[in-house]
């Protein structure tokens, strides 16, 4: 019997609220499949299963807030090849069984998710409205905040949205203001960082000329769906430069440095309603620039829609923050524990630049490094920035 537990989605998370099951008992789950949606300070997160199996039992009801590590469901392991329980022999239906009749809701299969904006979902939770029973008036039938409020106004008390035939859940604590919760989580993490991590800070000006002209050329021949942004080159260059200074890539845990297995670059993404998340792009050093761009584009879209995946939030080995679009010249980053470094990029600005004794004008970016003195020294940090600058002079090698 395998156990599926509430995952830790970052060092600052101690509990999460289960908001949706995407599986039903009897259903086969593959590795990496999204099996549940969990509400955290960082928004709703699609939680993936790291084991394959057949769902035996769902142990936690929708709406329940439980600590990290709590068993949420049990799975029967799948024996390879000649299994004792071939699919045909089990009475389990091939599709998830429809949920037990939720009072007024039209039948919706357990896997289906009504189209609704994140704000509408939040309002529905606050008002105790079952989304499946709301008529969406959006262009594609999406449920809007107004639809939810219309549904909520009739003063008949809406039944709690349990969804599954499980012991009725204790009321979820008021998670009404996600913005405030996220601010609290950021505060806790940054306070810990400033209290525990002896930061040092370095900055280096990098000529972005070669990278930007190479990029312009590239984008002329790339279809609109495959175009690159400068940040893709910067992320890849960071990942490659870390090969020279692996002591910047990893975690400080229990008084010791643990090198990262892989280079998973967290990208700081500001959310449109305020707040910040830094989901990881995995193995950036091995991806092509096109793949880095694709991954960045997807993760940005999902972060803004509050649809991140558990694997993206749990394991960045370093974080990059680019505040370049707001006119900021230099970022003085605060390291996200338990990571040991943060790389910042400011705005790329045309600057006077001396080349071979002559003054020219070049697009220049200030790259900064905040790093943990318990693990590395300025000398090594300088080496990292030098490698980063050199890589960006040769974009064709990225």
């Amino acid at each position: 019997m395998l156990e599926f537990r509430m995952p830790s989605l970052g060092a600052d998370m101690d509990a999460g609220t289960l908001v949706e099951w995407r599986i039903a008992p009897g259903q086969t789950v593959t590795r990496g499949q999204v099996v549940a949606v969990v509400e955290t300070e960082k928004g709703a997160v699609d939680v993936e299963s790291w084991q394959a199996g057949v769902v035996a039992q769902l142990l936690v009801a929708v709406g329940t807030r439980v600590p990290v590590g709590t068993v949420l469901a049990t799975l029967e392991g799948v024996a390879p090849a000649a299994s004792v329980a071939p699919p045909a022999a089990t009475p389990a239906p091939p599709h998830p069984a429809p949920p037990p009749p939720a009072p007024p809701a039209p039948a919706v299969s357990a896997g289906a998710r009504p189209l609704a904006s994140p704000a509408a979902r939040r309002r529905a939770r606050e008002q105790n409205v079952e989304l499946a029973s709301v008529h969406g008036s959006g262009p594609h039938g999406e449920i809007t905040v107004a639809d939810v409020e219309r549904e909520a106004t009739p003063s008949t008390p809406a039944p709690p949205a349990t969804g599954e035939a499980l012991p009725s859940p204790p009321p979820a604590p008021a998670t009404s203001d996600r913005g405030a919760a996220m601010r609290q989580a950021i505060a806790a993490s940054m306070t810990r960082s400033k209290r525990e991590i002896p930061h040092y800070y370095l900055g280096a000006s990098i000529d972005m000329g070669p990278s930007l002209s190479w990029l312009r050329e590239q984008n002329l021949s790339r279809p609109v769906t495959a175009r690159l942004l400068p940040i893709a080159l910067q992320l890849k260059a960071v990942a490659l430069a870390l090969r020279e200074t692996p002591e910047l890539n990893g975690f400080w845990i229990d008084g010791a440095f643990r090198p990262g297995v892989g280079t998973h670059v967290g990208v700081a993404i500001s959310l449109r309603r305020g707040g910040l998340v830094a989901p990881a792009i995995h193995d950036v050093d091995t991806l092509s620039l096109g793949d880095v761009m694709q991954a960045l584009s997807e993760v940005t879209a999902r972060a803004r829609e509050s649809r991140l995946r558990s694997s993206e939030l749990s394991d960045p080995t370093i974080t990059v923050t680019a505040l370049g679009e707001r006119g900021v010249e230099t970022v003085f980053g605060v390291i996200h524990p338990p990571q040991v470094a943060m790389v910042g990029f400011g705005t790329t600005l045309d600057r006077p630049w001396a080349i071979d004794g002559l003054l020219g004008v070049r697009p220049v970016v200030m790259a900064s490094l905040s790093a943990d003195h318990r693990v590395s020294d300025g000398h090594r940090g300088a080496r990292f920035l030098a490698a980063l600058g050199e890589l960006l002079q040769h974009p064709e090698t990225l």
Binding site: A119, P139, P223, V224, I231, R272, R273, T300, E325
Partner: protein
């Protein structure tokens, strides 16, 4: 393709990227990149979204012509394929 339909498409794509923005209060000549606080990733998603809706490939050099609703409508009307996918 008629300008009203193009304007509707532009608004739909913008709404997908900045769902919280009140597009009705956005002036036709207002620089919406600044007004809606769109970064370069948002803007690229906007361009990609227009491509999906209208089939127009906007080269990078023309991005600056698409910074306002009116600018989008006139550019896209001039470049939309004769038989629109929608």
């Amino acid at each position: 393709m008629n300008p009203d339909a193009i304007r509707e498409s532009v608004r739909r794509v913008l709404h997908a990227i900045a769902p919280e923005a009140d597009l009705d209060s956005l002036g036709p000549g207002t620089d919406f990149r600044a007004e809606l606080d769109l970064d370069s990733m948002d803007f690229l998603r906007f361009i990609t979204g227009l491509h999906a809706e209208l089939g127009v490939e906007v080269p990078e050099a023309d991005y600056r012509k698409l910074g306002t609703l009116d600018g989008c409508v006139s550019y896209l009307a001039a470049h939309a394929p004769a038989a629109s996918p929608r």
